[in-house]
Amino acid sequence: MRFKIGLTLIVSVVFLGCSQKVDDFVVLKKAQKDYLLIKEDKEINEYASKELFKATKIFNSSKSVEDKKEAEHLAFMLKAQIEIAKQSARDKELKRELEKLKTAKIKALLDEKDSELLLLKKEAQKAKLEAKMTLEKLEALKELNAKETNRGLVLTLGDVLFETGRSNLLDGSMRAILKLSEFLIDNPERSVLIEGHTDDVGTLTSNLDLSLRRAASVEKALIERGVSSSRLLVKGYGEMYPVATNSDESGRQRNRRVEIVILEEGVDPLEMVLENR
């Protein structure tokens, strides 16, 4: 009898130690439930099928488990594998997003380059147009008998464009003044030297005075048409620099003049005045 009781006791202890009903394993049941949820997840099925398969294997093993320790172990493994499957699906999703962004970056860079190119093209067109207009205006000045010299383009306003013996400009000079002012407004880097000259009739001082006043009249006309005074340098030389003989009327008329020297871009007018050359 003692033997039977002892045997029963040993068998009971062993069975209780090695087995337990799966229903008691709360953690495992929770993991199994989580598995069943992700099993139906479309994204995990599509992007993490390999990891889902591993979870399925653990899940299947866990269905027949009777040992508590093993059940706890499988619950741990199943829970972790589910998380791996979720992270793997996320990995695929992130990689797709990354690829999209890489493409978006290239597109944004291309758009930016296109815009820069367009801007450069427009600037080039504008510069070309401006250069063309400048050239046209330069040509228009040349039509006014402007001559290219080593000092720059020289436009001469003859004696006939001033009132006799006075400094007032006559209406005939206005075409030249207008074209010149337009050219100077379009070319703000260019300065102008306005030099008055006379023949040798009269006194030296009166000739100097007249030449200066005539040059100043031209300066005033240009300023009235919008040219900055800082770009204009006025000189009166009287009879000092004749371009023809003063012994006949034709020569004297040529000597009575105002020369307007349009300097190259950035050239200081003081460098170009006659007394410094």
Binding site: C18, F76, L119
Partner: protein, 124 residues
């Protein structure tokens, strides 16, 4: 008769005991766990998923202790847990890196688009 029953019961008990305890060390599981930990380390898990990685390492250390005690079943479980946690740490680290790359790209695109927005409207 009683002796026969006793012997049969003893045999059954021996069978059950043998079934409950494995004799062989879980070498493959240990190797897998070690490899997974090294891979996770290479993926930057030590900093990017530090808690998870630390847990994997602790489980691996625990497994080594259990091996010394010749508790092979527990050692097998510990190795498998170390393996799966290292794998998870690895995957999380990779995702964090991709997310960082995404954030950087988004920031770069924002800067490009901001520069682009500075251009005059008729130049776009």
């Amino acid at each position: 008769m009683e002796n026969r029953i006793f012997l049969l019961s003893l045999g059954t008990l021996m069978f059950i005991f043998l079934g409950c305890a494995s004799k062989n060390p879980p070498l493959q599981d240990i190797s897998d766990a070690k490899m997974a930990i090294l891979d996770a380390k290479d993926a930057g898990a030590k900093t990017l998923a530090s808690d998870m990685f630390k847990n994997a390492e602790q489980k691996y250390q625990n497994m080594q202790k259990l091996m010394q005690e010749e508790k092979y079943i527990d050692a097998k479980y510990a190795a498998q847990k170390a393996y799966i946690q290292a794998k998870l740490a690895n995957t999380i680290s990779k995702n964090i890196k991709i997310q960082q790359e995404i954030d950087e790209l988004m920031s770069e695109i924002r800067v490009i688009k901001k520069d682009f927005a500075i251009l005059p409207k008729d130049e776009k």
